[in-house]
Symmetry: none
DNA sequence: GTGGTCTAGACCACA
DNA sequence: GTGGTCTAGACCACG
């Protein structure tokens, strides 16, 4: 339950957003599975040497994004069900990221092969594990 | 002299930092060379629909970093001796974006084919015109 | 821009939720229209003698609910477009409220006619004004 | 002795207060009379899937308000001389719920017919059996 | 023990 | 001026 989040206060990215990104990554990559409990607010705050309210913000935002489920008095848990998005929303969000990647890669003079390889590497690292992980049909609540 | 900067106010990244990063990229990638003049503050601000003071801040910060030279009444210019990014820095920056794309796509339940197609579309749109997209050879990483 | 929110710290309802409820009411009843600017965080906090971060929380939650649009450095505005909900979500949310009303009314020994009249009164007060308000097609951004 | 309390943990209202309110309603409406015994703490807690300490808190608070009498080792009982709610109090409480329903329905773009139907469905389900729904007379408030 | 709310006040980003 | 983030610490609700 240590989660090993790495926070860089000088990155310009808000701390709570860095936390969100990394928690999402752990979930997507299978390190955290549906139903898994996250560290308590106080525990994580102390481990990262940040204020508890910052952790609360990260958790709350992830709750809004249907990534976490917060149970009062119990703790924060990875949501059971994959959140549903409309196809248009999905494409819109992902296209924004794809464009950002393409633009920066092009500006840096990267080749298409390089970019393609990079994306494939990250995809397999993140989603590959899921395909081999056990089916999630056993969980019902 | 439009520079094609891509700003996302909701990314959590400060706008002036997004600008700095991308200007650095332009310089590192050779799109901007030593001595080249950057757009005027007003011009850039209008093009990006942002406040001129934000542009000023980005330019000033880059001046402090010895990346730009501000000549009062003349404009902003790329400094001499601008270090190019190392290959590892390039990869690190792009990998961060690729990972973010992969994580969100995986959490949304997108297929690999969908992600791959999206990236390819954006790449051809962004880099295609400039680079005469090279022949589609097979690659593995 | 006074908005005249009434907060009762002893009601047991969180302050930010009381604010949300009343802002929603003002919007639904037409007192606040699409595009209207809300009081600034500091202004409202001072007027209600509460902490600014509490106002921020109310505004942020309403932003998540697609009721408000927050423009950094500009202020908070009533969203232009009515948020879209699936029919099933709509019914689920409203049925919860309808049931609560029915249960409590029944426990208090209210008659069906009384309940029906109450709902109709509130509906016309809230939605009636909208039907007579000018069409909103002129706004484009 | 199930009491049919309706608890919504996400309403923002403290659970113990929701319980207090509804127990007061039961008493005011005559469903619970002076001297009647309430469910045991454990029984209620299990039925509502909440923590026994929460039930204890609700009972204790009602004891302080002289609404209940706690007899050690015996249970909780409705006090003598429990004032019934005035008509205006009834209306105030119900109107609050009716308004909330109207506001949310209006913001979701629901039709009056939809809302009306929903309320009638819930009413008949909740009160129909108990009250042998009286003949449908015309009423105006 | 858990999370939820609120305060008081600081500093940053943006217009 | 606007909103956004973070800290330090308090008290409440819940298990």
């Amino acid at each position: 339950m240590l989660l090993h989040l790495q926070i860089d206060p000088r990155s310009g990215l808000p701390v709570y957003r860095q936390m969100m990104d990394q928690i999402r990554y752990y979930i997507a990559s299978g390190t955290l599975g549906p139903g898994d409990q996250l560290p308590s607010v106080r525990e994580l705050a102390q481990a990262l040497s940040i204020n508890p309210t910052t952790v609360v913000k990260a958790y709350t935002e992830l709750q809004h994004a249907q990534v976490l489920e917060i149970r009062h008095g119990k703790g924060a848990f990875v949501n059971q069900s994959t959140p549903r998005f409309s196809e248009s929303d999905k494409e819109k969000a992902l296209r924004r990221l794809a464009r950002q990647l393409a633009v920066e890669a092009a500006q840096m003079g990267a080749s298409w092969e390089f970019v393609q390889g990079l994306v494939e590497e990250e995809w397999t690292e993140v989603a590959g594990a899921d395909f081999q992980s056990p089916p999630q049909e056993l969980r019902k609540s």
